[in-house]
Symmetry: C3
Subunit: 369 residues, 3 copies
Amino acid sequence: MSFLLNAWYVATFSREVGVDAPFARTLLGRPVVLYRDEAQRAVALDDRCAHRFAPLSQGRIVQGALECPYHGLRFNAGGQCVHNPHGDGRVPSGAQVRTYPTVERYGAVWFWPGDPARADAALLPTFPFVDPDSNITHEGYLHTRAHYQLSADNLLDLSHFQFLHPDTLGSEAMARGDVQSGHLGDTVWVRRSAYDEALQPFVAEGFGVAPGTRVDRWMDVRWTPPGLLSIVIGVTAAGMARESGLIAPSAHWLTPETERTTHYFFAFGLPKEMGDTARQLVRYAVEGLMKPFESEDLPMLEAQQNNLGDRDFWEMQPALLPIDAGAIRARRIMERLIAAERADAAGSQAASARTIAVAPVADTSRAVA
Amino acid sequence: MSFLLNAWYVATFSREVGVDAPFARTLLGRPVVLYRDEAQRAVALDDRCAHRFAPLSQGRIVQGALECPYHGLRFNAGGQCVHNPHGDGRVPSGAQVRTYPTVERYGAVWFWPGDPARADAALLPTFPFVDPDSNITHEGYLHTRAHYQLSADNLLDLSHFQFLHPDTLGSEAMARGDVQSGHLGDTVWVRRSAYDEALQPFVAEGFGVAPGTRVDRWMDVRWTPPGLLSIVIGVTAAGMARESGLIAPSAHWLTPETERTTHYFFAFGLPKEMGDTARQLVRYAVEGLMKPFESEDLPMLEAQQNNLGDRDFWEMQPALLPIDAGAIRARRIMERLIAAERADAAGSQAASARTIAVAPVADTSRAVA
Amino acid sequence: MSFLLNAWYVATFSREVGVDAPFARTLLGRPVVLYRDEAQRAVALDDRCAHRFAPLSQGRIVQGALECPYHGLRFNAGGQCVHNPHGDGRVPSGAQVRTYPTVERYGAVWFWPGDPARADAALLPTFPFVDPDSNITHEGYLHTRAHYQLSADNLLDLSHFQFLHPDTLGSEAMARGDVQSGHLGDTVWVRRSAYDEALQPFVAEGFGVAPGTRVDRWMDVRWTPPGLLSIVIGVTAAGMARESGLIAPSAHWLTPETERTTHYFFAFGLPKEMGDTARQLVRYAVEGLMKPFESEDLPMLEAQQNNLGDRDFWEMQPALLPIDAGAIRARRIMERLIAAERADAAGSQAASARTIAVAPVADTSRAVA
């Protein structure tokens, strides 16, 4: 699989991970189990017992360790087997499950599938509006049957609102508006404006705009690798300064499940000071968006993926339009980062002899017979 | 996929293709969309937008062009993008969807997946009895989970009637009858006769034969590449000349959907002069045949395909019987045509810039029509 | 597929194979049809007509031969085509279906997928307690979505009782007990004892032990290639000699369906002299075990297989525990036997020119055209 490994990905929302029962999810093609240890720290392990590959997620959490449901071995937060209930109870060396660095932020548990030594929480882009310390947030999750970059294309080019979501998000004014894009390092931004627009009821109501009112709307999208976006929608009376309007910021996080499926996490947040209004609005936004996302975006993404099949995006020789500038920039950045990571890995392998652990099968077997 | 490309295949029945909504179908492994332009002409395009591979069949028909449901690009009957609703509206060069030659005949839309320059309506074999100008016709469609040549085998060797369709089409007399086959150019014919036969009620009633009457029955099958058959069933009182009997002609058209699935189109037609009788009979035949086709042929073809798997037919070292002569001849013709088309394609590619393969379909087809 | 071919495998229980209708099953990746000939002898053939690959299992049994449902060819117990209902009725040479040696024993039909010359009933290991001549038996069958060796691992290491089957088969005492294993030639044995144990109600009732009674329990497992096991469970009052206890012997036979799925046959038997008591107990055991087997073992085996994927067992670098000694020994024996069989096959092929029958396709085709 051609994923960027040295990067933070959302594994799941924080509330899904508890001390009572483990949580299983396939991430970047790997079975992963998440749980909380006795210090309430989120732990991510390969969901595969070191002994006979049973899914640890079907076992119990015992004293901060995960117990395998098949033979009862227990693995701690470091992935080390700490308990063997059989015979003399000795734990075989090498009974170790791979563990992934995690960090908990913005209401989500993030995990790092690459080199643990490089996992630095400071590398996480900021999504301050969904920081639960200062905001009231609401979250949505959708399973998407398409490559995560098709989802990123979708979010980086909101010109599809008018065609795919004519009854909820789009309007004729969007095609007449303007769009700019650019990048700063590996961050891509796309800014789209629609002028003198009559909003669809769903959006109008969310911004407290009376039916029929003419407004200007802007949509600022920011993308960072590997697929972490924020979208700020702003609305103001037509012709007025942006400062006089209202904004609705949201986070959109894409985590590949496999080469052809994606976990799509999104969240809205508004300052705690707004109280019940914030609570109502973030819920309204998430629940209202679920409908077009599920019934319009998901089938489209899946249809694109079906037409793409196993082919590479560029092999399809896609026609390029000005509206694609941001999405293409993001794809180029990902290609560069993945190529660099691979070159790096190839270099390390060449430099040092391979030292993959070989289980001393024969000896052990003889010893235990 | 190893299909003959320079040939006419049925895409669908004419009535399925309209001006109101596009029609999607996978043909020879390709997603194809069909619709009618403003001149009512049937158009066939790759069902894949040139921009981001969205299925055009999920879009609208606007002024004779297909509008992509994702970003609103429009493509005309020539596959050219003629409308970009975004920004300055310029259409990028290269925004072009592949189009396929079509011809409408015998109540069906035919498409040509090969070199458009070779697409000649005159190459179509004739099926005059289902020409809607002079006939009352009725049609049936079945999706078959088997390679189209297994279906052709089935139709070219009706000796299976007795074993697979004992209650509707078969009789003991069929095995006692005689069978001849031959070919004229690339057309294969098989003529089978059963003498002094008691027909099953379904066939007897269709021919207006009183129960228990002894008859002679003949079944003339004609096959032309790639899988276009006509079958004429005739019945006469036992011992009487064929001229004193009645015939029921039908067309059977096989279009590969994939290497393992087939679109099976069939149609009956009788002269308009026969009026209501014709209307009743063609409906009776199609609806009556649906039962054995669906419940007996389809499961058998699928079971054969399962046993064949990914192997080539000859790799299975099939035992050959005299009854197989026609089917084997047809397979040999297809193998020769496909090999010639490939050799041709390889030659052209070596010799010059891309000019897609040529098969000698034209001459042969003309010779036998 | 990497199966041992020169070995006896259970095809099905004897009662499944009759004279009225053929029985189909995929065995070692091959479609096989079973039926009884006029002498009541169980016959196993490739379930694939020599003519057009139709499944013979969908046909009729006629005078001890199988009639193909498609064109009516008939094949006898030797796999030879003995009847062609068409034309002059001549049977083409080469119309031959592969047949497999069978033997009927212990209430099951065994088949030999390898070299027929080596098929010797004497090679079958003994399971005297399910010999229907002297025992009352009861049988169970489960389809398992995992490699058959994962099932063998499961049966060879009953330490999982405590974790996977805590409410029916397990107890805390099992981990505290002792386990020994060894091998004699290619037979592996594992003996496990639990002392001073309170049995779960299911086991207690089966052995007629009053609730709460302290017992000693022993579990003797014997494995022979390719996956034929007997398990004898014994129970006695705590501290008493084994001779004073009761035993429940059972057979467990694993036949690969494919590389990833297994037919699991098991049977209990008790002496006919025990009469109704035996009848009740063997039924109680089979029906009672169905629940943990189906709801606990099968999902676990399937989960293991999912985590294993297409990888080899050793590629996963499994941690080895003392409890694995028997299972690992059995795996090593299978690896050695399969390697030897392949080396043997490679040798034979090198020694003599290949003499596989080539159907004279071209000539025949010409002859019948």
